[in-house]
Symmetry: C2
């Protein structure tokens, strides 16, 4: 069955690969699954036709026959569950890899997304400048804990997994701020993710949409 | 094998059931699984012994034989995967239920947690009072979308699932603000969750720890 995902017709990041379709493209590339992309214009995101697929009016969505999914975490978990290459076979190792998926999305990404709020959503507010270092320190606190756990390992728990795919994707969002580079082992971890051929193909595919 | 979870020795909410061990207790009760609880004193949360279980120094954790998990989302998914009652058998329905778990944690909870930041973490800052309505409006925006999707259904996708368990748990955190009650169908949805015998047992168990 054909897999169809949605992506921004024009990504707000101009092709830096930070929109969440890149994560899904990466997972599909790791799993060796071909896919089609339907580009959604900005003005169509909150239209009934798209809200039927994604109740929060965002991208990506995932369609495969009768199945419609949203939330990149759920989509990547679905891909990882149905194809080899993203989750270990051993039951306990698999549960731990899934734990890192949730950790990336619920413990690491929220403080990072606050940076978007303080800089852009509330960028014109009088408190923006004074709040920025507080937000940055909360990110540092979390990345410091993650850095300790990763130590000098290549990946978070044994071989590369969907947990690493998600964590690297989340950390990429904080790199432009300079905070990632304060943690050399995390910066190297992200670079290892980017060096994977599947990531490179995913990045190139989203860039091809946004660079034209 | 014995299941052991961790919880606060004294929950910051004084037993209102908003700490994340309640979600895990609820899932274990729905699955009919007995469990033990190890209470972690506040000063021990950042000690090496606890950080070995939870790299971010939080609760809950989950131990079962050799398996150690953290992140309530991952723990509940693990319980739901291994016992009946929390995920449908049909593959597509199962993928959609898992989608709602991720949606609760990555799309609905982050704006709600901003309320904790503006009120408590930054409660003494000069911008706190002026920021509060902005944060509240972002929560309203997301709950409005969720309210439309739920409509007059009892649960988010067919029968009660781990997706509803997670969404109800996340929405409970916003109820004290009064914002939940602006969406009557969501307030009724949360009340349906609380009325489940498994939730009542989970709530009572955490209250017994914190009310003494």
């Amino acid at each position: 069955m054909t897999i169809t995902i949605t992506a921004f017709e024009r990504s707000p990041d101009g092709g830096k690969g930070l929109a969440r379709d890149t994560r899904v493209r990466w997972a599909l590339e790791e799993a060796g699954q071909p896919y089609e992309v339907r580009l959604v214009p900005h003005q169509a995101m909150k239209e009934p036709e798209h809200l039927r697929l994604h109740p929060f009016g965002q991208i990506p969505t995932y369609e495969e026959g009768d199945l419609v999914l949203f939330e990149s975490g759920a989509i990547i978990f679905h891909i990882a569950s149905h194809h080899a290459g993203l989750l270990p076979d051993d039951a306990n190792a698999r549960a731990r890899a899934i734990t890192w998926m949730f950790a990336a999305l619920n413990s690491v990404e929220p403080p990072i997304l606050e940076l978007v709020i303080v800089r852009f959503v509330e960028g014109d507010k009088p408190w923006s400048k004074e709040r920025l270092p507080l937000v940055a320190d909360r990110i540092r606190h979390r990345l410091g804990q993650l850095s300790v756990r990763l130590g000098d390992a290549d990946w978070l728990d044994g071989a590369f997994s969907a947990g690493d795919l998600m964590m690297v994707s989340v950390l990429l969002r904080v790199r432009p701020s300079g905070i990632l580079d304060e943690f050399p082992n995390l910066a190297a971890y992200v670079a290892r993710g980017e060096a994977r051929p599947a990531y490179k193909r995913a990045f190139a595919a989203q860039l091809a949409v946004n660079a034209c």
